[in-house]
């Protein structure tokens, strides 16, 4: 069964706290010839020297760049800015962008911002949440993760982690430090590919190219998650368990179920869990074997936001177990597993009284 593609414009979110190299990454993206058909929303023009990239000004606060990007700054608020962009696109006042990249301020949690946007009845029909990207400074990343808990959370929420300033790691300890950083990031966020922004080379496609909205990207994304689930399962030895405490309370873990899952039960459970603990369930990603469905179902959540579930055309390989990867902050994985199993068992029992 094929899904209808979601044709709304994706809003990709670029996060990264102060000093993470976010501005560096942003500059590289804005200069990337491959990143045309994009509207980039930044906090303020002053951050980045755009003059040499500028082609024309559309209005105060919106410019068109050499690579065809529309770049605009947030004037009043984000909602207003996106509505304005949409209006300009509809009028033909700006090139027809196919995606938006939203730069968030360093320490802000991007999710409530995006959720507000998408609750807007006008914006909701035109836009959808895209890929969440977090920049990480290759030189200072490890110590930043140590000293700024917010940075750990940002790393945990991201769909993609982009290492910046890797060219500054010139000393002999460089490769080792990079490895240590990669390892640490993988412990926090098991499913996010870790990419490297090499100066001058375009990585926009790797970052923003594939996502769940189209069949090809969906398959690739899910493959990442399944690989992560596999690694997490083999990592659950006592030695590695200790390592999870490193980042305080943020950790990735996986759940696996052999029996087909009842969709109704799963939905009730997850909505209850996200209602109570959504701010601490940073990510849920998984492939589910749903009773009565031939095709596996892709589940993808970011805190309280759960994307509309989609199907893969077929199971990626012979294994039809349901597999879920969670990234949580301060919650007990064993309790989460016990909870889901209790609900699933409940769903299998006939009700004692009719509802």
């Amino acid at each position: 069964m094929s899904e209808l593609p979601d044709v709304r414009t994706p809003v990709h979110v670029l996060t990264g706290f102060l000093g993470s190299g976010k501005t560096t990454l942003l500059k590289a993206l804005l200069a990337d010839p491959a990143l045309s058909e994009t509207a980039v929303v930044i906090n303020e023009f002053g951050e980045i020297a755009l003059d040499h990239l500028l082609v024309r000004e559309v209005s105060e606060g919106a410019v068109v760049l050499r690579n065809g990007c529309v770049c605009c700054s947030i004037r009043t608020d984000l909602q207003e800015t996106l509505r304005d962009l949409q209006a300009k696109r509809a009028e033909g006042a700006v090139p027809p962008f196919a995606r938006v990249i939203l730069e968030t301020t360093g320490l802000a949690d991007p999710l409530p911002i995006v959720a507000t946007l998408l609750a807007d009845p006008v914006l909701r029909h035109q836009f959808r949440l895209g890929t969440v990207v977090a920049s990480v400074d290759a030189v200072n990343g490890l110590s930043q993760l140590d000293t700024q808990p917010e940075s750990v959370k940002q790393a945990a929420i991201a769909d993609r982690l982009v290492l910046t300033k890797t060219d500054l790691l010139s000393d002999r300890a460089g490769p080792e430090r990079l490895d240590a950083l990669r390892w640490r990031l993988a412990q926090i966020n098991a499913t996010a590919p870790i990419l490297q922004a090499v100066q001058g080379a375009g990585i926009s496609h790797e970052i923003f190219g594939a996502d769940l909205s189209h069949a090809e990207g969906r398959r690739q994304e899910v493959d990442h998650w399944l690989a992560a689930e596999s690694r997490l399962r083999s990592d659950e030895s006592p030695v590695h368990r200790h390592a999870h405490d490193h980042d305080g309370t943020v950790r990735s873990f996986s759940l696996r179920f052999t029996e087909p899952m009842d969709w109704t039960v799963f939905g009730v459970w997850l909505t209850m869990l996200l209602h109570r603990h959504g701010d601490r369930i940073l990510r849920v990603k998984g492939l589910l074997n749903i009773a009565g469905a031939d095709a596996p179902v892709v589940i993808h959540g970011v805190q309280q936001i759960v994307h509309a579930p989609v199907h893969l055309d077929a199971w990626p390989d012979s294994c039809t177990d349901s597999r879920l990867v969670f990234i949580v902050d301060g919650l007990d994985p064993a309790l989460i597993e016990r909870s889901l199993r209790a609900f699933l068992r409940l769903g299998q029992q006939p009700a004692a009284n009719a509802a």
Binding site: M1, E3, L4, D6, P112, A115, T116, L117, L118, A119, D120, R128, L129, D262, W263, T264, V265, G267, V268, W269, L270, T271, M272, L273, L274, H275, R276, H277, G278, I290, A291, G292, A293, V297, G301, Q304, I305, V306, H307, A308, P309, H311, L331, D332, L335, I336, R338, S339, A342, F343, R345, L346, G347, Q349, A351, A352, A354, A355
Partner: protein, 105 residues
């Protein structure tokens, strides 16, 4: 605030797919039956708090032990009013709730 509860991708809540094109799970299950199943399950979870939800027109009514009521538009939105009526958080990770569910109370 509705935007936070997870409605992304159209008007239907992400849990509500029975009977739609792209239905998840038992495609032959009618919308009505799936709805009943969900109500029944939610009631078992609410039972330890002495709350009960029932179908009412196209929505639901949630009743507390003292007779206080709340309207619920979409079943997935039951948890907030349920917590208000119960006067405490309803937590699927609460070991006391899990014991109650596991013992089939």
């Amino acid at each position: 605030m509705c935007g936070l509860c997870g409605i992304i991708g159209g008007e239907a809540h992400w849990t509500d797919r029975a009977g739609n094109a792209g239905a998840i799970g038992n495609a032959d299950l009618t919308r009505r039956r799936e709805r009943q199943q969900r109500v029944s399950l939610v009631n078992r979870v609410l039972a330890p708090s002495r709350l009960k939800i029932s179908d009412w027109n196209n929505a639901f009514i949630l009743r507390g032990p003292t007779g206080k009521q709340a309207m619920v538009d979409v079943l997935a939105h039951v948890w907030q009013p349920a917590e208000q009526l119960a006067g405490r958080p309803l937590d699927p990770l609460d070991p006391a709730l899990l014991v109650a569910l596991e013992n089939g109370e």
